[in-house]
Each structure stands twice: as C-alpha cells, then as structure tokens.
Amino acid sequence: MAKTLTAAVHGERSDLGIALLRTMIRIRVLEEGIEKHFLAGDIPGFAHLSIGQEAVAAGTCAKLRTDDAIASTHRGHGHTLAKGTSMRGMVAELFARATGICKGKGGSMHIADFSVGMLGANGVVAGGFGLVAGAALSAVQRKTDQVAVCFFGDGATNRGPFHENLNLCAVWNLPAIFVLENNRYASTTSTAETMKIDDVAIRAAGYGMPSAIVDGFDAFAVYDAIGEATARARSGGGPTFVECKTYRARGHYIGDPERYREKREIEDVMTASDPIVRMQATLGDALDAGEFEALWTQAREEFADAVAFARSSPSPERDEAFFGAYVGDRSAGDPVHAVESRERDAFMPFAPNLGHGSQGSGH
C-alpha cells in the first residue's frame, strides 16, 4: 500500500484530486499504449516515456489557462496531453499520419499544439528555456497576464541555455515558471554523477529567483506550488523555480537496455510512490473503487479510439515533404515558393519512385 503523505481531502479539493487523477491515468494509459505500439512497429522514430512523472504534468497544467504557454521536452507526452491536446491528434502524430497534430512532420519528439499554448516538445535538451523566456517576454510586451512554463529535466540544468535564460527571466522579472522534473537520470547517467548538489533548486538562488522543492509524486503538492508561482508571475512578481522530485520508471527511450540501474530500484520507487496510487490513497473515500476503475476504462476507450483514428488516417502525401518550411512556400508567385519549387524540381528526377507531381499513396 502506498504511503499517504497528504491528509484526506474533501469537497472541492476532492474534485480537484479526481481531475488530477483522471489526467494522470490518461497519461499513463497513453504512454503504456505508445510503448506497446512502438514495440509493435506502429510508431517510427524515437519515443521517451514519462511513466512515474505524471503528477508533474497533471499538477502543473491544471493550474494553467489555455492561453498560457508551455514548452516541453523530448519526454513530453504527459505535458502535451495535460495542456489539452487531443489524444487523437497526438496518437495520429506518433503514427506519422497526415491527421496528426503536426501533420506527421514532428513525431513524439517534436509535437506541438499551438491551439492550447503548447509550444512544442523539443529534441534538444534545454531547447525550451529560450522559448519560454520569449513567451514570457512576449506577454510583457503585449501587456497580457499570461504566464509561460518550461518543463525540463535535471540533465538540462547542466546546459548553458538554462543559466542564460534563468538569469534573463530573473533580471527582467518575466512571468516564467521553471518546472524541473528531477527524475534522477540525465539520459542514462545518474544525476549523482553529473552534479555535486542534491537540490538543483539552489541554482535558482544564484539568479535571484525564488524556488520551491516539492514531492513530484504528489499532484496536489505540484498544483499548490504552481499556484503560488502563477500568482507571483501574473501579479508582476517575476519567475519561480519549482523542483519536483520524481522518478523515471522507464528507460531513457523505449528499448533502452538500462544497464545503468537495477530493476529493483524501479520497483521500490514505484511501489512506494506511484503518483496514481498515491492520489487514489489520498482521495480515500472521496473516490470509490468503481469510480476509480471507470477512470481507467474511460482512458482506455479514449486511447483505443485514438488508435483507430490513427489507423484509419492516411500517411502524408509524399509531396508534403517539400512544403511547410517557409510561409509562402505554398503560394505561387512568392519568391520562396519559386526557389523551393526549383529545388524540388532539381531533386525529383533523381529520387526513386518519385516523379514530377507525384501523388505518393504513402502507406
């Protein structure tokens, strides 16, 4: 039985808890499904799972408005779903279909949904810091009360852009929130081997930025910390650093042989701290077994529907490869269009199975 660190909840707090639990279960079902379909060969490319870390995505995004921005990481399925992207759009993207949220051009590592303020997963560790600093700066320039949230791992805090952007956001008092998912591993290397400190949050002090350290398995704790941070940011109080102590229960990527840790470590952490079990225990009588089971059933149905949608969707037309890098590349008469179509024409005669005006069926 999981340890219960949060006191029993009632009323609105239990409604919130159920909402957070629903999000965490949807993420878990989505990612277990991604794992299965990746291994079955339905999903090309690379995919990185956040199983074990769901409380951070759920707790953070529950506190954000649709018009607030987030930037995510290569491990971004949870953030994307929690911010409001449809499972259909995500799964179709991962299946490389034309109906994917990025038309099949991004995939797991580069998924984005601007309609819900999701500025993208990022294939570059620490790639999101600048985007978030810029989104926060943009809110100031446009005089809105939007906030921008950067999700990142412990590994990213050893890269230069982390330091440059924290300093910039602090000195300009920007409405940014830095949410560290300290999952104990930077790719395949233990955090203990890559930095000499236990709490990365102390780095924020070096930039004059307030910070909090929270139990990243406890979605309520994350939600509350983000609540303080968003209140500070929206009222002109500047950025906040929130370190969520969590754990990556899967390998760095699907297929990772995980030579760097013992299976036992994963079992121990998840037995003690699985954020879904934790929330169920916290909710106690506020959620009966049938309701808990219904959350899983609904999530599984949602995922099955998304897979069916993806399977019935076409692959992108082959010609789509040549469009979309520039505004104007689809508009005859635009100089970009003229140049890019010249490039396409130069490429086509030598491309296998690809003639001028090819309408590749794709799949």
Partner: protein, 329 residues
C-alpha cells in the same frame, strides 16, 4: 523623391517606421539602448519607444535568440541584435534547431517572424573572431531567409522587409557600410522585396553577380573595366536565400560570362551555389567558365597587410572579368 543619408540612418529609419507601424516590434541586444549600439545604429530609439521596446540585455546570445524565437511564436516581431555576426555561433541551436525548424516540424501551426541583425565582415583589423561573413551556413539551413544589404537603400528596404516577414530572417549588415551614404526613397512604405535581385549596372560583356559590401567593389571594378572598353553588368542579389535564380539566369543570357564574388570564404560559399546553378541550368549560354571569388580559406588575420590580402577587392574582381572577356581562363 529620395534623400542621401548614411546606411546607419537608413537602418534607424527602418526601425522607427516599423516600430511605429506595429506595436509588437521590439528590439533587444547588447549595448543597444543606453549606448545606442556599438556602431551608433540604435541611437535615439529608446528615447522614442522606451526601454521596454529597446532592451539592453545580458551577454547571453543563446538566451537572446531563444527568447526571440519564443516571442516570435507568441505574437511579437522581435529584432535581435547579435553585436557581431561572429557571436551567432553562441546561439546556433536557437537559430538552426529552433528558429529554422519549428514551423516545418510543427506542421505549420506557427510562424517565427524574428529578425536577427548581424554586423559582419572584414574591417580595420578586427581579427579572426570579429570579421567573419557567415551567410553560407544559414543558406544551408532550410527555414531561414538571409538578406544582405549593399547600400543605404537596401539597408532600409531590406530591414523593413525582414521585420515584416513571417519567416525568421538573418540581416547581415557589413560593418564598413554603416557610415556610407546613399540615396533612399522618401516613401514611408518603401520595402525591398525579399528574394529579388537588383541590376546596379548594365553591360553586355560580362556579369558580376554579388551581394553586400562586394557590390560596391564590383561597381568599382566595372568602372575600371569601362575605361578599357569592357562593359560589365553588376547584379546585387540583396537576398541570398531565397536566391533570385531568374535574375542570375537572365544576366548569364545577356553576357555569357560570369564572375561571382563575395567576401565570405570561397569554399562552400553562396558563390558555389550560384556557379553550380549556372552550370546546371545555363550551360549553353556560357562562353567561358564561371569564375568564383571569395575570401581565402583561412581565418581573417589581424595585420592590415595580411587582412587586405585575403578577400576579393575591386582590382581582383576586374582582373577576373578581364580574363573572362579575353578568354584567358
């Protein structure tokens, strides 16, 4: 009607007009607000637009360009000054992996209307780390536009076009051009279209295809050649991506002999792209091989005598053209 103003004043007019026209345009960089820019190219802007829209920044190129991308994704049109073009190297991930790729990777959900201003080029013994012309790297990176003004008119019109462009645009401005004077149209809405070259001078014997500061050197070369009875066309590309291939093909068809010249390193440079285009598409029009001039494949040296030895100047361009006309190649 036009007025004669410096290149610097032309960029200032462009900034002022675009910042008045669009409240989402803002400017950030090192030494730009209080100091007015190391070349004086931002002087007076914070006084008109405030220090929120003209921001002095930490020396954090990765953050500046990254924040430029983030602001561009969320409704602003940032202009980021790189101080010296050489320092783009400190923000390569932000330019190459973020700015250039996001629109494509995300299935055209977003635009990245960011302008990077990058003072570049060889000047006054600035040495290896403050003298480079790096446009070739960015032409090689799909998703970016690259514009390079040659004179005050270009400076104003291309900067306005870059700011209005919905694509991320690198604006390379040669440091030696800032004080140079030239005519600029009086029209507040004067914009030089991105992707269109300008014929600076017409002549049927040889074409010099070039851009940026080398345009002035090519015009000087054409004047030298004229005294010898050789009539040269000078094409100012203005934009190096998207390239105006039609203007290049037209110049080849009119002259049948082409010199391509730039200050950037010759090997793997924009000139190589132009020369190979001519070889592929205009082969039958050629009376001679295409000659390609660029800096030697060495870092830019400090000693004036060394510095002046390693990039194409007017006499070298004239010599190349002369050899083509005399079939001495």
């Amino acid at each position: 009607m036009s007025r004669t103003i410096t290149f610097t004043e032309a960029t200032l007019e462009a900034m002022r007009e675009e910042m008045r026209r669009d409240p989402t345009v803002f400017l950030m960089g090192e030494d730009i607000a209080k100091q007015g820019g190391i070349f004086g190219q931002f002087r007076g802007l914070p006084q008109e637009f405030g220090f929120d829209r003209v921001r002095d920044t930490p020396i954090s190129e990765a953050a500046l360009v990254g924040a430029g991308v983030g602001a561009a994704l969320t409704g602003c049109r940032p202009v980021v000054d790189m101080h010296f073009a050489d320092f783009i190297t400190c923000a390569m991930d932000e330019v190459v992996n973020q700015a250039a790729k996001l629109r494509y990777m995300f299935g055209e959900q977003c635009i990245v209307p960011m302008t990077l201003r990058a003072p570049d080029g060889i000047t006054k013994s600035a040495g290896s780390q403050h003298s480079q012309a790096l446009e070739g790297w960015f032409v090689h990176t799909p998703g970016l536009e690259v514009v390079i003004p040659a004179d005050a008119e270009d400076a104003k019109g291309l900067l306005k076009a870059a700011i209005r462009s919905d694509n991320p645009t690198l604006y390379f401005e040669h440091k030696m051009l800032f004080p140079q004077k030239g005519p600029v149209p009086d029209d507040d809405d004067f914009v030089v279209p991105i992707g269109k070259a300008k014929t600076m001078r017409d002549g049927e014997d040889v074409a010099i295809v070039t851009y940026g500061i080398t345009v002035g050197r090519a015009i000087e070369a054409a004047t030298l050649l004229e005294a010898e009875g050789i009539r040269a066309t000078v094409i100012n590309l203005r934009t190096v991506w998207p390239l105006d291939y039609d203007a290049i093909a037209d110049a080849v068809a009119r002259t049948h002999r082409v010199v391509v010249a730039h200050e950037a390193v010759r090997v793997g440079g924009v000139g190589a792209e132009i020369a190979s285009f001519i070889g592929e598409h205009c082969f039958d029009e050629l009376d001679a091989p295409v000659l390609r001039l660029g800096a030697a494949h060495v870092p830019v040296p400090f000693a004036p005598v060394l510095q002046e030895a390693m990039y194409p100047r007017a006499a070298m361009i004239a010599d190349a053209a002369r050899r083509l006309v005399r079939r001495d190649v």
